[in-house]
């Protein structure tokens, strides 16, 4: 797999004399990967991703995006064209007076001609499903629609990777679902996703989960490996998915179930299987007893 982001010995300190927000971090992210970053508040997640598009520069160490160092001022625009970022508050990232003008902001910064800007705006709005909203003032959109608009603004720049910092934290369930479905769709089109989240249900969608604590990367693996470690997640102050915790409690109670289960459907199947097994063994037991009796 081609590497898109390479982090080498990254240490970052906000203020001299204070403990570093990131400690000697090493990380390689491949093109088109869907990554979730989880960790308690203040663990450095946001600080880390802000290095990926050169909003922050390393105190020591290096971050490379597609072979370009973030410290090189001349490659700033190229890096930001490749790495799009969606922030937590949808309101403070919309700059246009209308939906279409906001989407046109990024391509306009790249200096593209008006016809190309128009083409990209229409395409991006179609991808996120906001066609028909072109001339609406952004403040009349719902929270979910605002985040879709923010994503459209990034898509118009043809990014290779999109970073999202708790994009769903202020959305209603329908808005959340729209955003998550779109992320999966974009990932299928080959766009890499890095998703910071507190929701383990959202992390379970990713291909790879990174866990951070106190400025360090303490685990890196598939959702199966990471999210099934219920006790360990709880010790970090994180809440594993509800269904996983249920399976874990069943397992603790001596039942024969796995804990690599993150969706309701999987949990249903696992429990039905368990019940079927139970029923057949009970039946066998009863029929054995009956035969004995006769």
């Amino acid at each position: 797999m081609k590497k898109i982001i390479r982090v080498q010995n990254l240490t970052f300190t906000y203020e001299a004399g204070r403990p570093p927000a990131l400690k000697d971090l090493n990380l390689v992210i491949g093109e088109g990967e869907y990554i979730a970053i989880i960790g308690p508040n203040g663990c450095g997640k946001t600080t880390l991703i802000r290095h990926f598009n050169a909003l922050l520069l390393p105190s020591t160490g290096e971050v490379q995006v597609d072979g370009l160092s973030t410290q090189d001022h001349n490659s700033l625009l190229e890096i930001r064209r490749r790495v799009g970022m969606v922030f937590q508050n949808p309101d403070n990232q919309i700059v246009g007076m209308s939906v279409e003008e906001d989407v046109a902001f990024g391509p306009g910064n790249l200096g593209l001609p008006a016809a190309e800007v128009r083409r990209r705006v229409d395409q991006a709005l179609a991808t996120v499903g906001l066609t028909g909203f072109q001339t609406r003032p952004p403040h009349t959109l719902s929270g979910g629609q605002k985040q879709l608009l923010a994503l459209a603004g990034l898509l118009a720049m043809n990014p290779k990777i999109i970073i999202l910092d708790e994009p769903t934290s202020s959305l209603d369930p329908a808005g959340k679902k729209n955003v998550l479905t779109l992320l999966q769709k974009l990932n299928c089109q080959g766009i890499g996703i890095i998703h910071i989240t507190h929701s383990m249900d959202e992390a379970a969608i990713a291909d790879r989960v990174l866990v951070m604590d106190r400025g360090e990367l303490i685990a890196d693996g598939s959702p199966d490996e990471i999210l099934s470690r219920v006790e360990w997640l709880k010790s970090l102050g994180l809440a594993p998915p509800k269904v996983t915790e249920l399976m874990w409690q069943l397992q603790q109670g001596g039942e024969d179930v796995g804990t690599s289960i993150f969706t309701l459907d999987d949990a249903f199947n696992e429990i039905t299987a368990l019940l079927a097994q139970l029923r057949s063994s009970t039946n066998a037991y009863i029929s054995g007893k009956v035969r004995e009796h006769v």
Binding site: R50, L77, M85, A104, G106, N109, V117, P138, M157
Partner: protein
């Protein structure tokens, strides 16, 4: 909420004109108006009303835009009639109060001119979307680059201000609701109650604005914003009619300046 000179979406020849032509027209009118007498003012007023009808804006909505500025104009009128020396009107002076013919004449004329300017500017904002006005300004101010001022930056500032106006209004409402919910009780009918309410709003609002600014700057940088040249969704193109209009306006301004220096 009442919006001063809010955009009126219509299909008209005035709406279709390039925003630069309309901005230039308003500037030209304000120069002309300051140099003409009552007859010239009457002609200009007639033409402006004709333009507003061409733009399919009802006179009533046009006059409504005057409502917020009327008290100011009334004070202005009083100043003129009381403080202009000249031949007193019949029955005057009453005590120390004196009103002169000249004062009445000047007062009416000046207030008419100000009313006219507000109406002309309202026709601009009613027939042109805000984004087009900003773009028009950006193009008109491009020559300022000689002075080291980037018109792109000015346009960006204007459009951000307009973009965040409704957001900040919402925020202001939620702050004052939060204060009411915690038992704040400012009597809005009394002037000191009003001042108190404003000062209690100002602090949290300005702190929030700075916080928003920080995030906005990050978001803009993340989207590749750099000072200086950029492109837009639409490019403004002047057609023949636009050039003729600009030409005609220039000729009129020069003529007026020559005859009434």
């Amino acid at each position: 909420m009442y919006k001063l000179g809010h955009y009126f979406p219509r299909e008209s020849a005035v709406h279709r004109r390039d925003p630069r032509v309309k901005i230039i027209a308003v500037i030209a009118l304000s120069i002309i108006i300051m140099h003409v007498n009552a007859i010239g003012l009457l002609i200009a007023t007639g033409m402006t009303i004709a333009v507003s009808q061409l733009a399919l804006i009802p006179l009533k909505s046009l006059l409504k835009t005057l409502r917020p500025v009327l008290p100011f104009f009334f004070c202005l009128f009083l100043m003129y009639i009381f403080f202009t020396p000249g031949r007193p009107l019949p029955l005057f002076p009453i005590g120390l109060v004196q009103i002169s013919y000249e004062g009445l004449h000047l007062g009416l004329l000046q207030v008419w001119k100000f009313v006219f300017l507000v109406v002309a500017a309202s026709i601009l904002t009613m027939t042109t979307p805000q984004s087009e006005i900003t773009m028009g300004l950006e193009r008109l101010l491009r020559p300022l680059v000689i002075l080291g001022i980037s018109s792109h930056n000015i346009a960006m500032m204007v459009s951000l201000a307009l973009r965040f106006m409704p957001t900040l209004l919402d925020e202001m409402n939620s702050i004052s609701e939060a204060q009411l919910a915690r038992g704040a009780n400012f009597n809005p009918r009394r002037i000191n109650g009003k001042i108190k309410a404003i000062s209690y709003l100002a602090w949290p609002l300005s702190i929030n604005i700075f916080r928003r600014c920080n995030e906005l700057v990050d978001a803009m940088e993340a989207r590749g914003y750099q000072q200086g040249h950029r492109t837009y969704l639409r490019e403004l193109v002047l057609n023949h009619a636009d050039y003729y209009l600009i030409g005609a306006l220039t000729v009129i301004v020069i003529a007026v300046l020559l005859w009434h220096p």
